[in-house]
């Protein structure tokens, strides 16, 4: 099968999920008007929002995996999402209300937290010339713990209502209504996708290792900083709006690589489409499992992602 065929099949599959998801669990509502309203004001924006968020998370994971040459390295495992979560939680706690270039305070807080986390983890990894991927992952784990305890600290100081809201938000959810969140997220994800497509040749060469990438003519430092900035912005915006939804960025790009190969000119569209469809599917599951109540989608993705992480770990150990 050619890459074009595979990509078309993935698109069809994803489109089918996208078309069916809004109607799932809608059958038992008799009133046509209520039904219409739920469909257009809640389900449709939520489905589209899930697609955009899922695509963004998957693509950021793909970029990290390429930059660090390891499927276990993602914005979540390296503590970037925790940094973003803390940034967002702190903004809520302090009641900051600034906005810059159209971004609200929580997004800016999450972006700053994400950037701080990645600078820290990357800085540590550069302390030793011959750092291993294990060192990097452990630094990520330590960073996650550090930010998690800071979040707990913020929660502890908050009143019971804020504290509960932070907790729910930390579980990762897509319960939005209306189109405002979608319109907020879409330009950021679109910008990130644009940057990634523009850098797809560089991403291919980064997979071969920094030395080879540099000798082929890639200005590795500049490309890496640009990608850190872009992924921090993207992860920050998603975390600010949905909370940390784990493991999408690990599972989706890895599966896509197995399906379509490592060439980013194909991998980027495949990851975008699959990531979007995958989060819609998880969100639909989250809505239906304990209906009429619903689960935060982060619980579903993490339940799937944990075993996947272990599988990757065992597999990479065996081949090493």
């Amino acid at each position: 099968m050619t890459a074009t065929t595979k990509l078309s099949l993935l698109s069809l599959l994803s489109l089918a999920v996208m078309l069916m998801a809004p109607f799932a669990g809608l059958g038992d509502i008799a009133d046509e008007l209520v039904r219409q309203q739920i469909l257009y004001e809640i389900r449709l924006p939520r489905t589209l929002f899930a697609f955009v968020a899922g695509a963004g998370l998957a693509l950021c994971g793909m970029v990290f995996q390429a930059m660090f040459h390891n499927p276990l390295a993602t914005p979540f495992t390296l503590g970037v999402a925790s940094g973003a979560s803390f940034g967002a939680a702190l903004t809520v706690f302090l009641g900051l209300n600034v906005s810059l270039l159209g971004f609200d305070a929580i997004t800016l807080g999450a972006f700053t937290g994400a950037l701080a986390a990645i600078s820290f983890v990357y800085g540590i990894s550069r302390l030793h010339y011959s750092f291993s991927i294990e060192t990097l992952l452990l630094t990520g784990v330590a960073t996650s713990f550090f930010f998690s305890s800071l979040i707990l600290f913020t929660q502890y100081l908050s009143d019971i209502n804020d504290s509960f809201r932070i907790l729910r938000w930390l579980m990762g959810g897509l319960s939005i209504s209306g189109y405002q969140s979608l319109l907020q997220l879409l330009p950021i994800v679109a910008f990130s996708v644009g940057i990634m497509i523009w850098l797809s040749r560089e991403l291919n060469l980064l997979m071969a290792g920094d030395d080879i990438a540099i000798s082929r003519g890639v200005a590795v430092k500049r490309v890496r900083y640009l990608l850190f900035f872009t992924t921090s912005l993207c992860v920050g915006a998603i975390v600010a709006l949905c909370g940390p939804i784990g493991f999408v960025g690990m599972m989706v790009p890895h599966i896509c690589r197995l399906i379509i190969g490592t060439d980013h000119r194909w991998l980027i569209p495949a990851t975008l489409i699959f990531g979007g469809g995958f989060l819609i599917l998880c969100d639909t599951l989250a809505r239906l499992v304990i209906a009429p109540a619903e689960l935060p989608v982060g619980i579903i993705t993490t339940l799937l992602g944990g075993p996947f992480f272990l599988w990757l770990l065992v597999r990479s150990r065996r081949s090493a």
């Binding site: 040459h69 010339y129 523009w198 850098l199 040749r201 560089e202 291919n204 060469l205 997979m207 071969a208 290792g209 920094d210 030395d211 080879i212 540099i214 000798s215 082929r216 003519g217 890639v218 200005a219 590795v220 690589r257 490592t262 060439d263 081949s319």
Partner: protein, 257 residues
Amino acid sequence: MIEVRALHVTLQEKTLLSDISFRLNAGDYLVVVGPNGAGKSSLLKAMMGIIDKDSGEILFHDQALSDYSQRELARLVSYVPQSSGRELPFAVEDFLKMSRYAHHSALSEWQPDDQAAVEDALRITNTAQFRQRQMTTLSGGESQRVMIAAALAQQTPVMLLDEPTSYLDPHHQVEVHRVIARLNEQLGITVIEVSHDINHAGQKGRQVLALADAQAVWQGPGEIFLEQERLQRLYQQEFVFVTHPRSGRTIALADPL
């Protein structure tokens, strides 16, 4: 065409290269020798812009390395790294195509001369028969030839090779050296090769730069390199010398006694 002046490189307070100077003309073949940890690989990495220098000058065509963008430099110099053992997730031909990066902008299309460069590289290194194979399935010798082919597809007048024959059996060592010699003699590519093979270095037509403890301890033409006192000081090892029965060349052997 290449000039290195008083090059000094440190990394985390460790001196990797100290006061290294040499000049090469177009078409020269320089073999960099010396004991492990002498700074041979660092020299190549500094010349490729992979590690930064602290002081001194590296000039290509009388223009400082720092005045080239990484992309411009990659049209002038290519690099075959020491075998890292890391598995590269590409098919051979795709990996070679990626070498054309420096000849492209983000939007430019694949051109016939790009394909020609890839085909030439496959032909010269005798790797065309496994162009479709995944890099992960190649043997050590095949993979080393593909790494050279990929650097060759970059079509640069200068090539840096870091121990291209280590980990290879005698047959593949000879084959890889034959490929490099062909690049140098027939295509006029200026070659700088790091090697532990002193007999390969000590040949007519080669320049030798001997490094020890980050410093240049000797440089000169290959045919006078193989000399007892020099080798003993360089490697802290006794050598015996024999004459090759067929070529008549002097061969140095490390003497275990």
